[in-house]
Symmetry: C2
């Protein structure tokens, strides 16, 4: 896999991923649980932000969680150990060269993974081949083009676009959420169903103002500042104005909207 | 009221409003009903696209539906008569000069009205004054900046932006959906609660592809072609390319997203 991970691997980024997972757990995961005895592949577990939730919600299922980064795997393992989970096994592996036999899994789950891959349909087809007959796949992705807010700001949209461009340059696709339906159909899944999960934040929801608008979304955009400047796609002043305007949407009269997309299909 | 109604009053536009109301009834209205005996002001009923639904869902409530246009009122009356409704009374009136005493209504309802007003907070404050103590207000608005789709298209976004600009030039605000929370707080309502109503359309939902992507949204944008050209804000070729790209999102691998916002508050 030749993609770089656009968000990097530093500790601040990991804190962001954990805040995000905490705030969004119900919205994204409340309708995912697997029957006792089933074997589930989590493809691209990263630092385990979703793994703990997944495994806790399906205590009778067994999870095989893989990631390409050994460091991320080590952190994910620490998190599931800290949570006292015994139904998760980790393995370092590339999604395009998985060490599993065909039809080894009852279900496959992946969250915020396809957005980083240059060949998402090929990855989906590989995952499909790992499913037993009747098995399901569940994919969750964001879509950075779904962000809009009040006060509206061209500078803020420009700063967001820096991440979209960097992710594209790294071989990924930050607008993949809206594309899950056609991608999964193209990969051959049946009964594909996509449901949007819109995060709406106004100042009557202070936990989301902090946990999502500021610490998840704006922090994520802020996190690509150096890369965006190094790539020459934005001037420092314009980028910083955009970040200020994103924080401005967390004010008393501000509003922030973003959508995730959750897709399920039959293998 | 010195605003022009950006969508005009021609028959094709009325057909569009009725298609829209049919497709979106459940999404927008399923959680609105009023107790028997209550008296409800519908402010800005237009051609009655929402009036029939409102009155059918609350058969024991009495509705006073007002609009500034006598022609629209006449059409709305024909529709409620055709539906056999007897709990709706119509009256031609300007929202900024309403012929009602203070605290005359138990509830106020308005749908797709604030977007056309240059002083939305003033209108909300007037409506607040008409509510009895403990009465509620319900406002529903779209937000044309919430539209995104696959395949993405700058031409399509440009065509959408023509409607946003025309509505602004006419004194309105096509991005008002996201602003309902701060506007209602500013107008003095208590317990303001906003819930987004996202319309997600892929080709597994053919009724929405036809009823929303094509006949509601794209038809609405197409409907401002002559005004946009007359205003000199777009070239014919660019506008037509945008419309083609919007129809393209109704294809087998296309996806279309749009959000409405529904706000409630206490007077």
């Amino acid at each position: 896999m030749n993609e770089r991970y656009v968000h990097g691997y530093d500790p601040r980024e990991n804190a962001r991923l954990q805040d995000q997972a905490g705030t969004l757990v119900d919205l994204l995961h409340s309708d995912t649980s697997y029957p006792a005895g089933s074997v589930v592949l989590e493809a691209g577990c990263g630092v385990g932000a979703q793994t703990v939730t997944l495994a806790q919600r399906s205590p009778g299922a067994r999870f095989m969680s893989i990631d390409i980064s050994p460091d991320s795997i080590a952190q994910a393992k620490r998190r599931t150990d800290a949570a006292g989970l015994t139904n998760v096994q980790f393995r370092q592996a590339d999604i395009f060269a998985l060490p599993f036999d065909a039809e080894s899994f009852d279900h496959v789950f992946a969250c915020f993974v396809l957005e980083h891959l240059s060949r998402p349909v090929a990855a989906l087809a590989i995952l499909k081949g790992l499913l037993k007959p009747g098995g399901t796949i569940t994919m969750i992705e964001g879509d950075h083009g779904s962000a809009y807010f009040h006060p509206a700001s061209d500078d803020a949209q420009r700063a967001i676009h820096c991440l979209i461009e960097l992710q594209q340059a790294a071989g990924g696709n930050a607008l993949i959420g809206r594309q899950l339906y056609p991608l999964m159909v193209e990969a051959g899944f049946d009964a594909v169903h996509v449901s949007p999960r819109m995060v709406y934040v106004d100042s009557s929801k202070p936990a989301l103002v902090e946990g999502f608008t500021k610490k998840t979304f704006t922090a994520m955009i802020e996190g690509v500042r150096e890369s965006a400047l190094a790539a020459g796609i934005v001037e420092p002043k314009a980028f910083d104005a955009g970040i200020r305007d994103l924080y401005r949407t967390a004010g008393t009269d501000g509003v922030f909207c973003y959508s995730f997309f959750k897709a399920t299909g039959l293998g």
